[in-house]
Structure formats: structure tokens, C-alpha cells
Amino acid sequence: MLRHALALSLLPFAANAAEIWVTNEKDDTISVIDIETLEVTRTIPTGERPRGITFSHDYSVVYICASDSDSVQVMDPETGEILHDLPSGEDPEQFVLHPDNKHLYIANEDDAITTVVDVESRKVVAQINVGIEPEGMAVSPDGALAITTSETTNMAHWIDTETREIVANTLVDSRPRHAEFTEDGAELWVSAEIGGTVSIFDVESKAEKAKIDFEIKGVHPDKVQPVGFEFAEGDTHAFVALGPANHVAVVNMESYEVEEYILVGRRVWHMAFSPDKSQLFTTNGVSGDVTVIDVASREPIKSIKVGRYPWGAALRP
């Protein structure tokens, strides 16, 4: 009886440990990884083909792009219950939540559209025509600019979030996948999967200021395909997933030089940091696992089996 009570009293603690949420594209589930134990503690069913995943800024709900269900699902992260769906346009792949915590900017991959949804009224407030196969989504820290990258048009589209109109289009290398503003809002980084590069734009002038190439010994250059990336604490280093090259590159954000390549699982897609950014969790699509990287030593320390084709990753602190 006493043991029972003890176990029960431990439960709230367990629920409070930070977690990494991983969408499994071909299992229609989310795997929840406990950061303390590095184990999968929960597997939660979702809509069809879950890819993009992000938490509300207060972490009260989690948004999931259920691509083949043509909806963004809103889930209670405590219970794993789907609270409701948001209208998202067709085939939502990635999205970004505006700093106002109210507007989701969603890339509709099959429709060449970026949809803006008000998560409170649950209504579409704008649809913006963009290039073919929109994918990467980013919003500037001040909330003034949103970015959509389009994979076949090979552009970053700069959207004024006030007027919801495109204010600039900049060409990047083939098949842009992911976009991210630096913390100070001065730079925009865009990865190009087939181009094999990451382009860095000066946000003020919207001009390209640098381009990063990658080269891994023993890996054919065609297989070095940058996709997702994240910035380390203080924007000192970028960690760039290189897809079928099965490595994550560590890029110095001042010199734009690659300092290291870390071996991870097969076809690495996206990643998320632990709350103190000491650990990085990468989703490896083909091998169906998540690699845990120790950021300080830049060593992979564990791989965690998740569902089939893990794609997106998000931190729940």
C-alpha cells in the first residue's frame, strides 16, 4: 500500500521531465522521449503522415501537421488527446508559430500556397501564393517577416506578416528545405537539399552574404543533402542534418566554416535540443531511430528506436 502511494506521488515528477516529441511519418504516431532516461515513454496516435510538429509558446498544446489528413491537429500534450483540428489547406508539411502565439504559418506542399491560420478563432485568415512545393517555414524574432521556401521553384519567399504579401523572392540552390532566422534576426539561413548547400542571407538587404558547402570523406558529394538545422546556444554554431550522408555538420556561425561532422543514423532529417541545449536529438528517417548527440563533446551517445520514418522533432521542457 505504501509502495503504491509512493509510485503515485512520483508520477507528477515523471510527467515534468523534459521530453522530445518525434513525429513518425509512416506510423501515424508520435514517440515521446524522456530526456533523463533517454527512453521512449509514450507512443501517441496522430492523423495520417505526421511531419511538422511545434508547441504553443506556453506549451499548453502541440500542433501537428497531419499531411495526408490535410489538417493541423491540436493535441493536449498531457493526455495525448486530439482537442480539435485546424483548417490548414491541403497537405500541410511544415509550419511556424508567430511570436504572437496566435498565427500559424503553414506550407501546403501540394498546393503552392502558404496558409495563415488563427489558432484561436480556428479560421484561415490568409492564403498566399508561393512557389511549387512550399516546405521550409520561418518567422523573424520580431514577427515582421515570415519565410516560405519552395522546393521546385528554388526560392525563399519573404512575406510581410502585416500585409500578408510577398515582399521579396530570393533564389537559392536546388530544393530548399529548411529556413531559420538567427536569434538577433540579422541573418536568415536556408538549406538546399539537392544543391548541397546552406545559404545565409542578410535580412536587412535580403542579399546572400555567404554559402556553406559540405564535404565528407568517403561520402559521395551527391549524397550530402542538407535538410533540417538548429542553432546552438548563443548562435555560435549551427548543427546541419545532411540527409543520406548520415552525418550532422557543425558549422561555426562566425566564420561559416564546417568544424566537424558527427555520424548519426540513416537519412537524418530534423532535430531538437534539450532545454539547456547540451543534448541534440536528430530524427533518422531510414533507420527509424533518434540519435542523441552530446553537444559539448560533439559525440553521438545513444540511438533510440522510435517509429517508422521519424521526421519532425520538438522539445517539451
Binding site: 521553384t153 526560392m155 536546388s174 530544393r175 539537392i194
Partner: protein, 390 residues
């Protein structure tokens, strides 16, 4: 007053942009030279009316969307030359309107069009003819190839045989010239990868195989002895389909049927291909075929080159497309580019059956000093093409 001036300046800027946009309009002609269709035993499939053309239309839509952000416009004209009419007249008319042609025609018609005086400053794309001669001794400087060559396909299949260690190979060859050419390509590819095709038989039935395949094929294939896998050269898809599951020994059928090497197949879904497939199916109402893919790739090549160079001048487009900085994202997992020695689009080749993709060539371990894609088809040292300055 100041506000008024600013407004005027604003109008001027708009006008300038519009003029600039007008200068970058790209016209392309999709030219089909109709050929007689050989009869086949099965009535299951008919050639889609828009085979190839539907791919060109999708490529144009892709280009137009990109162009809309850059003030570039794209237009596609479709011309089909009925059997018995001169393809050269149609080609001349098309060349008078635009220097860019995507062509679905047999090799002799292609060469004749490329040799027209009107075509000398033009840029032509071969979207269907697989003949290796067009990429070697019969090449033309103004003719690029987005269709995979026969040897690219046969090399892909033989890489798979080598990887799986299917060393004892038998082959059944059909009676048509296409079958002879594919069989010859398979023999050459086998040699290239250290293999040899052993027992061979010519297909020699004129009965309706739908009714008696189960009776005839076991006996016919019994004479091949033992082997690991059976190749069938039946490029018009006449009899090959009746071999599967009817061979004397239980062996896989590959080549023109069963496991096939193709530039595109409806079962390709990785590398974002699912998006291309769904866009195509939505537009055309049928799955995407290799002919559609090659036409799409030709139009996209043109669009990509115009976007990157901001010019529509054929010589500049040709130079850019054949240069090092050109790359086309073709939904096959690797950047595609053109071989500067013969104008062939480098591309992975799918090894697929009706329900799934089995592998994608070049396969792991087939290395090349420059580009692994050049393990498929005619590599620079083997090419007898001189028109590209080689």
C-alpha cells in the same frame, strides 16, 4: 507636391519592371512525330493520348509558377505530325516561332530535324529516343537528351545482377528491332560488369499467349537449362508478360517485364517524388510514364537555366546547361546534370516492378572517378561524339 512626386516615381518603377518582364518570355514547342503502333497480344493497355505531352505541360506549369515571381512567362505549343506527313515542315514552322523544341520522334526524324539549317541556332531536347548512336557517333551539338539511353537502362539492370550475384543468366529475345537493340544493350552491359548471358532463345510463337501461356511457356523455358534469372527483351510489351510464373524453373523475370530498369515509374515515392506524382496524376488523370518524365525534365531544364541566367538566348542557355553549375532536382535523390561530351541528362535509373521500387542505380559500390551517375550509359572515354568538342 512631394507626395505627388513620390507617386510618379513609383509608377515609373513599376513600368520599368514590366518592360523587363516582357523581354523574358519563353516559348517552347512540344513536337510529336507519330509512328505506327505495333499490335500486342494483350489489350490491357492503350498508349495514352497525351503520353509525353502531359509531362511537358506539368513542366511548363512548374516553370510558370517560378517565373511569376521573377517576371518571366512561359508558353507551350503542342504539335503532332500524323504518320506519312513530313516532320521537317512541322519542325521548320515550330523553329520559326521558338528556338526550343522538345521532341518525341524516332532517331532518324530527330537527326533530320537537328540538321535543318533553321535548327542550327536552336536547342532541341530528345524526350523519347533511347538509341545510343544519338549519344555517340550520331550526336548533334544542338540536341540534348532527357530520355535515358538504352545503355543507361541496361547498365542499371546489370549492376543489379552483379550486386545480387546472379551470374547464370538466360535471355529470351523478341522479334522486333526494339527487342534486338535492347538484347544487344543487355549483352554489352553484362560484359561491362563482368557478367555473361548464357542460354538465349528467340521468341517464336504466333499463337495467342493469353490462352496457352501456361501450357507453352514451361516447355519453351525448360530448354534454357538452369539459370539464376531470366532476361526478356520485349520492348513493345507483346509476349513478356506471359513468362512470369510460367517458367519451367521458378526464376525471376527481368528486363522488359517483371523487374524493369526505367527512368521513371509510378512506384517512385521517395525524395519528394510523391509530390511530383500527385501533381502529375491530378493534372493528367493517369500515372506518370518515363516519356512524361523526360518531357517534364526537358522543360524544367529550360526553366531552371532561364531562371539562373536571366536570359532566353539559346547559345547561353546551352552553355549554362552543359556547364558545371547546372543542376536539376529530379526527385530521384541526386542532382541531375548534362554530360558535356554528348548532351545526355545524367540521371538515376529505377529498378522497379509494378508494386514497388526495388533499387535505384547507380547501386552502392559502382564507383566512378567523377560522377557515379556516369557508371550508367556512355562515359566520356567510350563516346564517339565529336559535335560537343570532345
Amino acid at each position: 507636391m512631394r507626395a505627388f512626386l513620390a507617386l510618379v516615381a513609383g509608377l515609373w518603377a513599376t513600368a520599368a519592371t514590366a518592360t523587363e518582364a516582357d523581354t523574358l518570355s519563353v516559348k517552347v514547342t512540344y513536337l510529336r512525330v507519330e509512328t505506327p503502333e505495333p499490335p500486342t497480344l494483350s489489350n490491357l493497355e492503350a498508349r495514352p493520348e497525351d503520353l509525353g505531352r502531359a509531362g511537358a505541360e506539368l513542366g511548363l506549369a512548374d516553370n510558370a509558377t517560378t517565373g511569376s515571381f521573377l517576371g518571366q512567362t512561359y508558353a507551350l505549343e503542342t504539335v503532332s505530325v500524323p504518320e506519312g506527313e513530313s516532320p521537317l515542315d512541322a519542325a521548320r514552322a515550330a523553329l520559326a516561332a521558338s528556338p526550343y523544341l522538345v521532341i518525341d520522334a524516332p532517331a532518324d526524324a530527330l537527326t533530320a530535324i537537328a540538321d535543318l539549317p533553321e535548327a542550327q541556332a536552336a536547342l532541341l531536347f530528345n524526350a523519347t529516343a533511347e538509341d545510343d548512336a544519338l549519344r555517340s557517333e550520331g550526336c548533334r551539338a544542338n540536341l540534348l537528351h532527357t530520355a535515358a539511353s538504352l545503355s543507361m537502362r541496361s547498365d542499371a539492370l546489370m549492376q543489379f545482377f552483379a550486386m545480387r550475384r546472379w551470374a547464370d543468366i538466360a535471355m529470351i529475345e523478341g522479334p522486333r528491332p526494339e527487342d534486338t537493340a535492347f538484347a544487344a544493350a543487355l549483352r554489352a552491359s553484362a560484359t561491362k560488369f563482368g557478367l555473361e548471358i548464357g542460354a538465349e532463345k528467340q521468341w517464336a510463337f504466333d499463337a495467342d499467349m493469353r490462352r496457352n501461356a501456361s501450357a507453352e511457356v514451361p516447355l519453351f523455358t525448360q530448354e534454357l537449362g538452369d539459370y539464376d534469372a531470366l532476361l526478356v527483351a520485349d520492348e513493345t510489351h507483346d509476349f513478356g508478360r506471359y513468362l512470369e510464373f510460367n517458367t519451367w524453373l521458378p526464376r525471376p523475370v527481368t528486363g522488359s517485364e517483371g523487374l524493369v530498369p526505367v527512368a521513371w515509374a509510378p512506384v517512385i515515392e521517395q525524395w519528394g517524388a510523391a509530390q511530383l506524382q500527385s501533381r502529375f496524376t491530378e493534372a493528367a488523370g493517369r500515372p506518370m510514364a518515363p516519356e512524361d518524365y523526360a518531357a517534364w525534365a526537358a522543360i524544367r531544364t529550360l526553366g531552371e537555366a532561364v531562371t539562373r541566367t536571366s536570359t532566353t538566348e539559346p547559345a547561353a542557355i546551352r552553355a549554362y546547361v552543359l556547364g558545371d553549375s547546372f543542376e536539376l532536382a529530379g526527385f530521384k535523390g541526386r542532382p541531375m546534370s548534362f554530360r558535356p561530351w554528348n548532351g545526355q541528362l545524367r540521371q538515376p535509373i529505377a529498378l522497379a516492378h509494378a508494386r514497388a521500387l526495388v533499387a535505384t542505380a547507380p547501386l552502392e559500390g559502382f564507383l566512378h572517378q567523377v560522377n557515379e551517375l556516369d557508371t550508367l550509359g556512355i562515359d566520356a572515354p567510350e563516346s564517339a561524339c565529336t559535335a560537343f568538342g570532345g
